[in-house]
Symmetry: C2
Subunit: 365 residues, 2 copies
Amino acid sequence: MTQPLPLPPADPASPARQARRGHGRVTLKEVALAAGVTPITVSRFLREPAVVAAETAQRIRAALAQTGYVPNKQAGLLASGVSNVVAVLLPNLANSIFAETAQGLSDGLQAAGFELLIASTGYSLAREEHQLRALLGWHPAALVVTGRRHSPGALQLLAHAQACGTPVIEIWDHHPPEPGQRRASFTQIGFNHDEVGRAMAEHLLRAGHRVLAYVDSGIAEDYRAHERGMAFAAAAQAAGASVTVVRSPSGDAFDAGRQVLGDLVRAGPPAITAAAFANDHIACGAMLEAVRRKVDVPGRLALLGFGDFAISRQLTPSMSSVQLPRHAIGTETARSLLDALKHGVPAVPACLPWALVVRGSTAGR
Amino acid sequence: MTQPLPLPPADPASPARQARRGHGRVTLKEVALAAGVTPITVSRFLREPAVVAAETAQRIRAALAQTGYVPNKQAGLLASGVSNVVAVLLPNLANSIFAETAQGLSDGLQAAGFELLIASTGYSLAREEHQLRALLGWHPAALVVTGRRHSPGALQLLAHAQACGTPVIEIWDHHPPEPGQRRASFTQIGFNHDEVGRAMAEHLLRAGHRVLAYVDSGIAEDYRAHERGMAFAAAAQAAGASVTVVRSPSGDAFDAGRQVLGDLVRAGPPAITAAAFANDHIACGAMLEAVRRKVDVPGRLALLGFGDFAISRQLTPSMSSVQLPRHAIGTETARSLLDALKHGVPAVPACLPWALVVRGSTAGR
DNA sequence: TTGAAAGCGCTAACAG
DNA sequence: CTGTTAGCGCTTTCAA
């Protein structure tokens, strides 16, 4: 504080300094003092600049710049009773699949003045409930969670929030309610994983495969991957094909895929001729190992991924996969949420399109 | 509200209902009413359960469960004047490199009761300043930003915050202050990108290469990648080698790498015999294209990546790269921050280790 | 061990 | 167009 560093918005040596609280932050009152008005006028100017007189506005503007005022959101939200926070629970942020959804949400919500409070659950329902409890303390304007599976406690919290008028959206899923199970229903924005699993099976069946495998996610609570696997197996078996479900080992997904490939080619007789995977990383690992072992893909073994990650089209042969509305889930959720929040209506659910992209790894017959 | 759904923590049909505000949230006062004590006692119990009488505690516990109380953080933080929020600004979340740092931060801070407010800047200093302004409104306990380059406005905000006692940490960088440039100094936790650039050059020079290329990031404001490139070029030229710096095209990084490979092999005479890249994705793209074109790697062209992404060790030949303390930057920052916050001392800077991993793509000579 | 009073910083409502 | 009054939900003194 000895040398006068250029700190225009709040020079520590300026007269505004001594007016600060213990925490050192400039408050509305101090700005008002500097501008020669009352706090409420400054508050008004901040929210609706047009409503104050031109010359008053000028003085306030100067005071604002001079003091380096930053509004305290805690206080603002508390006083107004409205929240501009949207709480988001994702299984994972490191996984680019969800990061893109977060980006989509952010794109759609930030422009409308909302802030995102993002927490990751690590694919654990227990952690989801824990995080949910923490997030709820911010009294968010809306709640976005991943999937339709939640712990009983989380379900109660979500139902309670929804009953109090807070929109709750389940993303990355779109599923009709189970007949027997009575549960609160939330708005779902995503796609049906059963359908995807079936489509994956049908694609392989259509190519003439009769001995199939599904390589499931190594993550115990990746329910959506398990669901696709169940639907895949059911569809294949209904068509008279056989299906082996293997769970991929945990750890690096590429390595897991490499490891699984050994089991796949060793299996039988009858030999497995096509495998579907819980995600592209595992599938790509298997593909790389197949290339290394000179296992013919798709001749000896066809491979079908899920997620259509950037690397998948780059390998040789290129990986057939399922293209997902990763970003759209975010933007659509934002759109739906803004609508719901603005007009006080419930958020509308949406079933978003996906596409099975056929490439070299399952080509021809 | 017609059928009595099981909502234990706050049955909308319970007596607690009518006690709710317009926003429908249970407040401390209502819990107190249900427990037959005053709000302050409940508040105390929540923070220091041991300090209230055993039977009072019992009643409060029951009231808490019955009402489904969720503390309002806005109010709590406002009243106590302390913030448990750490604001984090990252260039990008979709990029797993930063997602891991965020995870590290989260791992270290959540246990200590802090919450992360994460925003992404999209590698734009302008957006950084904007986001910073928004984040500052939460009056965070600490500020974590990426890199040492900031807009003048952001610099003022950061300096101001630091002057007010809020720790400010710059991550992913560790650089001595420029002699001529007078600027506020913040705690840096990361590594020196000049050193990495030099090490990359030295590795290739040591392998006998004399005609080099640096494939820079296509992102204009990825200053750290540019820095590595400058240091790379300077070191190579100092050793008498020639260096061509090319900027990778924007868009999919793998495709960019593929595209760049054409230019690299076409260049000369003298022909470029080794290329370093701003990141592994571009490098892998180049590698895949080299394999496709049957360009011998490393015989005709050695490739050296940066970041050591999961895919890099999987390709054939495997990619030499620079292993980064992605997660450690997060955990170390958390550690440093907790220390600073707890003892009121400034956060200590740290220079974290990285390692050049030699694999097939730059092997032998 | 519990309570009463006061206030965090800001914003609704109303009044002028 | 501006100010007054009251209070958001909670926590900090202090006192009982």
